[in-house]
């Protein structure tokens, strides 16, 4: 690696050639504040918060995009730099409603933190007219409040480039510039796929999930309701972040304890539903192979991917697994099998889920997701909403004991917990499909080729004399590439796992927010995924078909995987959606 010699604040450093001033300074232990910069997603040098002085340069330069060169002398903290950053913050605030008191981002807002760091508060220096924007809360999963938008375009970049969708962008110009959909359509009428990646990219409270916690509080205090909760695989790997725990801490036990203390009548695990999904999906794959059904089979766990398929690649609808997602399977079994066993009227059950995902809020309202004449899941919360409930209830999360899930739908295998990371569903399905096909026990259950954060992974496995060509992709721009390659005849696969969010659910749109200052220099996806793989490795049972409660469910209630009852409760249908609004 070639290097260059530079000075930062008069201290000499040898840094990698080609790095930006921001990267070089970070490597040297000098942090430069940023707002619009999000590594590999939004590198446009627009907000000018990261300005620094460079000796000999005509004016201040933006550290986030300016490359270092040999002999460069950089000053990151001079009075001129500080004054410029302060002025920029005052200008941003002049069109911001500064409604911090109960803003969902208060205390983890990147703008608020910077204003505090630079001593900028309610200021009338640039007072004048301000455009009042109506809040767009038309979509089931999120709101947009442009009164808090700072036009950094991080949401626009992630929607357009990472997800390849581009339903939002900058409209009008100058003072009237605002982020919205084409022809000022409501988000609900746009071809948004509800992934929520824009929310986790947003530095302020301009974007947020639709808060459904009030509905849950109401159900919990209603004595006529039986409130049952389930938690997705990846939530245990991230919830701790909301309580100051290191990224990648597995808080499964504390999470179950917290849910019980919030007053849920039963605390079940979506991992159970994930094992169930594998039973159905492995069966579906084997039956499609045997009966000449449509291949490649593509997973349907990610509701953002499913909506994307229906909207942007409807030619692949028949390839989608008819299996409901683990959330919906768990919900359907809660309101049938569990209700019957517990002697509870399904109509009195409020089925709540805690998900890494905003698209789950869309999924619960989809057609054909109400196997018992009532929605399989009534309320889908994000990880962030659960954290807020725990905070409001005054539960000292970090001091909680570790508890387990309730029996009947609380057991799960290692195959289920890795659903939360890209490649996990594929690996879980392979563990079951291979053993079913060969009739032998796998020497090793780990399929490491489908692990990791690469956007597209592929591998051919020889199983019982048959070549199974698998592909795993996450992030919809990557998904689009794979589908186009299939359409062009360049690639052939038998089984594909797609996740809408890059890295899978551990990086979902409903996950805890981490500031750009951390995301730019740490791979939070890998750290979170490691918690899931460690959880898997520590389990005695690591294959879905070994789950004892699942076996019991089939023996006592469902019959065979793919059988009549299983089909009614656990499978669904898809629709082609119009891309134009």
């Amino acid at each position: 690696m070639s290097t260059v010699n530079i000075k930062i604040n008069n201290v000499p450093y040898e840094v990698a050639a080609g790095s930006t001033i921001l990267e070089a300074a970070h490597a040297a232990g000098v942090e430069i504040p940023t707002l619009c910069y999000l590594k590999e997603i939004n590198e446009i040098g627009a907000c000018r918060i990261c300005v620094v002085e460079v000796k000999g340069a005509r004016s201040l330069v933006t550290a986030c995009v300016y490359p270092v060169n040999d002999g460069m002398e950089i000053f990151t903290n001079t009075p001129k730099v500080q004054a410029a950053r302060k002025t920029n913050l005052e200008l941003i605030l002049s069109t911001h409603n500064q409604d911090c008191l109960s803003c969902v981002r208060s205390t983890n807002c990147e703008l608020q933190k910077m204003c505090r760091d630079y001593g900028v508060s309610h200021t009338d220096r640039f007072a004048g007219s301000r455009v009042e924007y109506a809040i767009d809360d038309s979509a089931p999963h999120m709101y947009r409040d442009n009164n808090k938008c700072i036009l950094c375009r991080r949401c626009v970049a992630v929607c357009k480039h990472t997800q390849g969708i581009g339903v939002i962008g900058a409209n009008e110009r100058g003072f009237d510039t605002h982020i919205a959909c084409a022809f000022e359509a409501n988000l609900a009428d746009s071809p948004c796929i509800s992934c929520g990646q824009c929310i986790v990219a947003c530095p302020t409270g301009a974007l947020g999930e639709k808060d459904d916690t009030d509905k849950v509080w109401a159900a919990l205090s209603d004595p006529t309701k039986h409130v049952v909760v389930q938690t997705a695989p990846s939530v245990r790997a991230t919830l701790g972040e909301c309580f100051g725990m290191p990224i990648g801490t597995d808080v499964e036990g504390k999470m179950a304890a917290a849910l019980r203390r919030l007053g849920f009548d039963r605390v079940f695990d979506t991992d159970f539903g994930a094992d169930l999904t594998i039973m159905e999906e492995a069966n579906e794959f084997l039956s499609r192979v045997k009966n000449g059904g449509k291949l490649p089979l593509i997973t349907s766990c990610s509701p953002g991917w499913v909506k994307y398929c229906e909207t942007y690649h409807p030619e692949f609808i028949d390839n989608l697994s008819s299996c409901k997602s683990p959330q919906q399977m768990t919900g359907a079994i809660i309101k049938s099998y569990y209700a019957e066993k517990a002697g509870v009227d399904p109509q009195s059950i409020v089925s709540v889920s805690v998900m890494p995902c905003t698209a789950k809020k869309f999924e619960v309202g989809r057609d054909d997701q109400d196997a018992n004449g009532t929605p399989d899941v009534d309320i889908a919360l994000t990880t962030r909403e659960l954290a807020r409930m725990i905070e409001r209830a005054g539960i000292n999360f970090t001091a909680l004991p570790n508890e387990g899930f309730d029996s009947l739908m609380g057991e799960s295998t290692g195959a289920a917990v890795i659903f939360g990371a890209t490649g996990g569903v594929m690996e879980a399905a392979l563990r079951t499909a291979v053993e079913t096909l060969t009739g032998e026990t796998l020497p090793s259950v780990e399929f490491s080729d489908v692990r990791g954060m690469d956007g597209v992974k592929e591998k051919t496995y020889n199983v019982a004399g048959m070549d199974v060509r698998v592909c795993v992709a996450s992030g919809l721009a990557n998904v689009d590439k794979v589908l186009n390659a299939i359409n062009a005849g360049e690639k052939q696969y038998d089984f594909i796992e797609f996740m809408a969010c890059p890295g899978g659910c551990i990086n979902g749109g409903g996950q805890p927010l981490q500031p750009a200052s951390l995301r730019n220099f740490n791979d939070i996806r890998t750290l979170r995924a490691e918690a899931l793989y460690a959880n898997d490795a520590a389990k005695t049972l690591r294959k879905s078909h070994e789950n004892v409660e699942i076996k019991k469910l089939y023996d006592e209630y469902l019959g065979e995987p793919g059988g009549h009852k299983a089909h009614h409760l656990l499978h669904t249908t898809y629709v082609k959606r119009e891309r134009n609004f």
Binding site: G166, G169, E172, R173, F183
Partner: protein
Amino acid sequence: MRRFSTVPFKGTPAQEAELKAWLEEHKSMPGAAMPALQKAQEIYGYLPIEVQRIVADALGKPLEEIYGISTFYSQFSLTPKGQYKISVCLGTACYVKGSGKIYETIEKKLGIKGGECTADGKFSLDACRCIGACGLAPVMTINDDVYGRLTGDELDDILAKY
């Protein structure tokens, strides 16, 4: 969706064919969106959603990206122009002589805002700056006819002529 025009889209197959032919020829050109919108406006006179959709699809870009460009540059219009284009001068001389009031009165009488066109496609209203007839202030034009020393009382009679 914001309503930009109450005038129904009246694009013809010939217009569409002309635009599509241009797009087919230029779609792989870097930065094609700007000239594509200019061409579209040249053909249709304005850029309603129907036209922007053709451009977006041909260039393989999200509609929002095309719309963003069309609202960034003032040369693009999202509303059609009427058969009779009313232009009220809001230049300094006319403005101090009360042309702002004239402009608002016409907005009320036609039930449209500046930049818009009436539902029947007859009148469109725009503001302009000095047309060099300050001695006649306040001034407005309807196509090539010039009306000066307006008081507001004569507006009904003037509009009735068209």
